[in-house]
Symmetry: C3
Subunit: 277 residues, 3 copies
């Protein structure tokens, strides 16, 4: 642990300092004593994942890696939503170039988060559908407040979750539960998610959520970091390599999909309905 602490003592005075202030899309606070980072998604109202938010997350993850943070808690500043998933505006009438950049940044961000050498825990303080569920599943441990929804619900929208989204779910809840959930595009309540193992712990409220997240982190900080991260990466390398070795195919699949006239029509209808609300 001493190595990490060394890296993080960068001359600030308070024990908690702000980080990456170049953007306010992601609030990052480091506890200088422990090296634990809280990374709070801050794109109101529902942290929809557009290029700018993903880019801010990616930049933060690169920085954390170089500063060797000792652990990261991922959460949200939104009162009811962890993240609503991919921003549909990124898919509505984009140029090929813009769509390609967006998808590439999603891939980049996921690769960094999924392969982070330090312990990661999702403090899921609100709804977490689709891409929001992916972020949660990419952490090592998931704790969630009651009575919210989580799941890969792509099927319900008429689309198919990418293979790496599906792989993340299979790794957590097993093949049969994942098959059922992905075919139906199930959104689980927090309570159901705890039952099938999609989340690891249920918190009573937001305060309890952060307490439990820190408890998990404390346990992990007591472990030898190199052995810990070697085991973690060993478990995740097949899933990582599956995407890394097919990034171009995965991107092409996304682009071919969104450029279908029917998909653009659906998006237009959906976005107009949202506007009226």
């Amino acid at each position: 642990m001493f190595v990490l602490r060394q890296c993080l003592t960068l001359g600030t005075k308070s024990s908690v300092r702000n980080f990456a202030a170049a953007t306010n899309l992601v609030n990052v606070k480091i506890n200088e004593d422990t090296g634990v980072v809280i990374m709070e998604l801050n794109k109101p109202p529902v942290n929809s994942l557009n290029y700018e938010l993903l880019e801010a997350m990616h930049r933060t993850l690169v920085k954390l890696e170089n500063e060797r943070c000792s652990g990261m808690i991922l959460t949200s500043s939104s009162p009811n939503t962890f993240s609503a998933g991919l921003d549909l505006l990124e898919m509505y009438k984009p140029t090929v170039d813009k769509a390609r950049k967006f998808w590439g940044m999603l891939q980049n961000t996921w690769i960094k988060l999924y392969s982070a050498p330090y312990p990661t825990v999702a403090a899921i303080n609100g709804h977490s559908p689709a891409g929001g569920c992916l972020l949660a599943m990419s952490c090592e441990y998931r704790i969630m407040v009651p009575k919210k929804k989580i799941g890969l619900n792509e099927t319900q929208l008429g689309i198919v979750a990418p293979q790496w989204f599906q792989d993340c779910m299979k790794n957590i809840i097993g093949s049969r539960q994942a098959e059922k959930a992905l075919i139906a595009g199930t959104l689980f309540s927090s309570e159901e998610a705890a039952k099938i193992g999609l989340i690891d712990e249920l918190a009573t409220d937001k305060e309890d959520l952060m307490k439990k997240a820190h408890d998990f982190m404390d346990e992990q900080l007591g472990l030898p970091p190199l052995a810990r991260s070697t085991v973690k990466i060993g478990f995740r390398k097949d899933t990582l390599n599956r995407l890394i070795n097919s990034r171009e195919v995965d991107t092409k699949y996304f682009i071919d999909f969104i450029f279908q006239p029917k998909v653009q029509e659906s998006l237009e209808m959906y976005l107009q309905a949202l506007k009226k609300k």
Copy 2:
């Protein structure tokens, strides 16, 4: 769904019509309003899977695919048995040619059933050992009446369930449970099967069984069919390809096995014992 309904309105007047009347080994009824098909195995007394029954099933599945049925419920006309599994008479003193045709039809039927694009549910209204269990496991969802038996019990008969039978079980109940069940050739009671996830739901009786089957089907019919089937096939393609890429080896293994003098002796003893009953 409108596409399916269109395909199925073939000029009949009643809302449920018979289908594939060329054989009575399989009763097929379509609800013209929903496109849901009930496929009832009807080879008394126990739906043992011989060439003719498999061929009738296969022909029906091909037809359903072309007519794009919206969903299929697999059940049995027998009062106590879903299917007793492969017909041993097909293995007793066959010609190589006959054995090869039989096994090939079993493979064909399984490939069609396992890869059906529409939702499939097994309404297991009786015992379902060995090949009967395979049929049930090849559907997407399993509901079963109480106090019957289900499982791959091949080991108890001194034979080994083919790899694809084993793969189906592993995909449903996981590696460890499947290892124990397949080594011991366990026949589970309906209640035990529900506990380990080999079946998804326990019905109280036959009426409840069909109600629950229709409930599951209704849920599935509410989902966008193309996204649904794409996810399903994604989950099943490895298991399908494993057989498709080794059909000849799989067939040769079966034929070498049944032509062993010891196996023929065992079959003779077993069949004579059955006759006396």
Copy 3:
């Protein structure tokens, strides 16, 4: 079963006889009536796995295979420990040659145990960390006395369990549970181990342990041995081949690891602390 009994009637008079008396590191008793062998690790105080104990186990396993024993119960003569795992003295200032021989014998012993054609059950009568857990996991079934500890706790010691240790655990408790346990190096109580499926049954005491082990064995002896062992090997072949095809890499990894000056320092400190006790 008659074949096995034939092989084992070697002219002794008592129904239980000693076996492999050339070493007392492993007590081996055969029940001549059933062919069931009890293999008791007997290297006080805690059955730490050094070259000699592994070699005695390996020699016994080869002998059992040739004599086609009908089943084997693995247990320990120690009052509180099944096996404490690998003997650290084998890693402290060894020659490359000695380290290589040690690791090769561990691989040999595991391959024989994991692929044994007869049923194997671990009667875990005490603590079973690290290499002790590997031995237990390599049997087909695990029964354990209450209030002891079992697990792959390598991470806690700053080291990484070899891939084949990890594979054994994944096969038993599934990917997600194994990921959590291996990242944290969790030592489970007997009760927790039963809950997640790391052990199959909890015994009330040592007498009950041996009774339950014999009950499991009786069930297995009722099954056709060839079908039984074919299914077993089918389930284990991928894990076995993964090591067999990378033995040299696996050995090199071990040797490179223990020859690191930091590792030797840690071992020295640890062994001196043990001496003082």
